[in-house]
């Protein structure tokens, strides 16, 4: 499937900012089921420094600085990607490995190609494994259940047990609170699932991206109706990663477009910056995902 994404972010400040330093992760990743064919940043005012590089997790990252007084900053990124429909990073006979075996492999394997994934098993800045998370996860992990079946069950339970309520949580809301109130947004559900997986001794990572929404039958799709999205991915030792999207209760296929991944949201915020101003700011984000013919 060939898609074009237009992601536009506009900041308005009450006071002009003399200087801002920014970091964007708005370039779709290249990996087995996705190829990025175009990625163009349009930034106003014009940045003094603009530089792309790859971060620790292999995401493309873009640093730019605006060094003239500005009270508005617009970052529009146009990308085109080619997505294949499989949810597997590397297709393989992974469905059959019991989750305990996966856990033991991860914990006890010395070879670095497995051991390096322990980075996604340990606590990260926004996710701390806990007895509560483990307690929530446990029903999905009966003895001997295949790892992917368990992860899928966990995804289904989160999707069933939790209400999608924008505005209830923010980036720093602890998982305990999400768990207690059973509501949040896609980022919370991804974090929750990752916390559950890690509490069971399994490696999981956070994926930031987009989802293409479909208009109701017979209606035109609204401009700007799509959104930034987030889901989680589970590591299957020796085979690779498998994505799960608890917000939609589905295995991400060709409607999910991947931007970046890391241990949690803090590793991959789409756009962050530091400005030196005392004023207040308003942010406005629109995302459009369009299917391209051919």
């Amino acid at each position: 499937m060939n898609d074009r994404i237009i992601h536009s972010t506009k900041f308005r400040h009450s006071e002009p900012m003399p200087l801002s330093h920014n970091e964007a992760r708005l370039s779709p990743r290249d990996f087995s089921r996705q190829t990025c064919t175009r990625n163009r940043y349009q930034i106003t005012p014009k940045p003094r420094v603009f530089r792309k590089r790859f971060d620790y997790f292999g995401n493309q990252i873009c640093y730019f600085s605006i060094e003239e007084p500005h009270s508005e900053l617009t970052v529009t990124v146009i990308s085109e990607v080619l997505v294949t429909s499989t949810g597997y990073d590397t297709p393989g006979p992974a469905d059959d490995i019991p989750w305990e075996a996966a856990r033991n492999l991860l914990l006890e394997s010395d070879p670095f190609d497995i051991a390096e994934h322990r980075d996604f098993l340990l606590d990260s800045s926004l996710i701390t494994a806990s007895a509560q998370l483990r307690a929530y996860a446990t029903p999905s992990f009966p003895m001997g259940r295949p790892l992917l079946a368990a992860a899928r069950d966990l995804m289904e339970r989160i999707s069933h047990d939790f209400a999608y309520v924008p505005g209830f949580t923010e980036i720093s809301t602890p998982l305990e609170e999400v768990l207690a109130h059973r509501r949040g947004v896609c980022q919370d559900f991804a974090h929750l699932a990752i916390g559950c997986m890690r509490s069971m001794g399994l490696a999981a990572r956070y994926v930031s991206g987009y989802i293409e929404t479909l208009p109701p039958p017979g209606q035109e799709k609204l401009v700007g109706a799509d959104a930034s999205h987030a889901w989680f991915s589970v590591y299957v030792p020796k085979d690779g990663w498998m994505d799960f999207a608890p917000t939609n209760n589905q295995i991400p296929m060709d409607r999910h477009i991947t931007l970046a991944w890391g241990r949690d949201y803090a590793d991959v915020p789409p756009l962050r910056g530091v400005v030196y101003t005392s004023g207040s700011q308003v942010m406005d984000v629109t995302v459009d995902v369009m299917r391209l013919e051919g």
Partner: protein, 716 residues
Amino acid sequence: MCAVAEPAEIVYRVKSMDVMEHAALQPSPRPAGADELYAPDGSLQSHWRPSLASLERLGPDELSRRLDIRRLLRENGVTFHVHGDPGGLHRPWELDLIPWVIPPADWEQLEAGLTQQAMVLDLLFKDLNGPRMLLRERVVPSEAVFSHPGFLRACDKMHHRGERQLVFHSADCCRGPDGGFRILRDFTQSPAGAGYALEHCTVLARVLPDVFGDCNVERIFHFFRAMRDTLARLAPRRRDDPRIVLLTPGPEYETYFEHAYLAAYLGYTLVQGEDLTVRDGAVWLKSIGGLEPVDVILRRVTDVLCDPLELQEDSRHGVAGLVEAVRLQHVAVATPLGAGVLENPALAAENLFWVGRYLERATACARLLRMLATLFNHSDTFGPEAERECLPHLLQALANLTGAALPAPLEELAQWPERRLQSLVLDAHLGGSLPRTLRLLASNAYAVRDRWSADTWRVIDAIQEHAEALATFSPLPEPAGPEPRNPDPLGPESVGMERLQATLDLLLTSLIAFTGYTMESMTRAVGWILLDTGRRMERGLMLIGMLQGTLSTPGTLPAQPSVQPSAQQAEPVAQQLMKMTLSTLESLITYCRRYRSRLRLEQTLDLLLLDETNPRSLAFQLEQLRCHMQALPRPRRTSRTSPEERLALEAYASLKRMDALELAKISGRSRRHEALRTFLAEQSRLLAAMADTVSLSFFSHAGGPTPLARRRATAP
């Protein structure tokens, strides 16, 4: 790192004290070690002769005049600023006027060792922030790096010019019992020390020019010249005349003096984050004349605080865009960002564990001490007999709690208790004394200072103030002989005792506030688990020490008062002692509410030892410890139970088998509570073993330098 003797000397003193102190509850004989001053045949070591001879020439009067050195230091502003530490209670950089003379041969050995260590750390840094072959080849377990708070993913694979990346490194060293030097701890993040060494040399040379001159001391300025050259060579451009700045977190930080002193000496501009800005991918100094380019930053700000864009975003000490400027090689930072990964992260965990232990130890000692002060202050209400009978028990308990040996038989002690009180508990120089414990509590709390809020700092400050008040408490002049205690309630010592009681009240309030903070405001991560583990172990040990002193001793406490021949006499005293024990262990109210009767030993023991709902009981501590031992992370999770888990289970199981009636029984022949004594001894052994095992498993740094993680054996 630094060609001068002083820093090592100071560190040696501080460290050897801490190491001994940590073992305070299980005193071990001091190992026979190398003697600094004397050769094995008893003669003075030759390298000491010149300095001691010149000190001798000065004579006592002249020497004491020059001993005024502290004043001079103060005038120069040479203080190691510590948050709210007016009395310098835990200032690690004290200057001893008598130098530690290190002969050239020893110094060469130390220098070679430090150089080698610096090279190893440089290689480690380059690998961990580069190819990570040590992880690939399984020399270092990957999770040890991944979970290290100093492993900065944003700074991965950043290098400045030149082969050597880690250009500074400082270390705590000590001389081992075999006479060889050891590195106790490496500092790569913000290596302090050089500025103090410089200042100490300057001051010593001024105060004791004769002694200093006679020793033929190695010159220190070579080091600073090398430092200046090294930093200049790091400059990406304009290496002939680079602008170098020293980045400090500001005057409210403990090493600010050193930053200011070093910057002035080296001719660098002393800056804080807000003085710098990143433009066009480079770093600039904001000055009156406009922006001036910066080539090298001598960094004394913790690396995660250096850039709010890519590192910790709420940092006020950094410069946004700095990491990118380093990445672009437009500026060099020394020591490099990411060097914190080389420091042993287990140390924070260890400090938290000791915060827990000292906090509980201090609280227990303060409570018992207050009980003793109350006994003296209100001897009329207790009655002279109660006082006479109870006092030896309470003093024995106090000796148990402080780990101090009783200097005299109990009977003699009771003759002159205030003096003993002073030597047992209030002397700050004595290991195990309350002021000493409080000082160690403060220095451990200080070592993990980023954990505490401003409110908590106020509490820690208050604790230190009370500690100082205690250390100066002196109830009495030395008596000429073993006179009886002055019975006059208005006598001078009872005034002292009242002041003591009041100080202890204040101290306990502060300790409870600090404990409350650790319970209410710390997240339940590994650090907290270790802190609470320390607390629970210590509370268990203190409880046992208390009971060993009071309730398990012969004769005084009949389980069945009616069958005891001396019941009429002994009972009031026994009641008093039980009451004091319960009160000291914060369980008297609970007892009275629950039983509403006279105190009975089996009920007392049930409440203090076996009742899992009493947060003061041994059962409660063991239950908590059992959970903590399970929750502690393992480098490799295996199905096997860890040794500390096994000990916790053993202690718990042994407790569960116990029955209060059984414990309260008096053994027929010895007329003592044999079952209770055996049980307490066994529990004490298990708790002490648990503490040792936790130390070994989680903070092992015995046996020389431990860079990051021990090498793991790989299968053939």
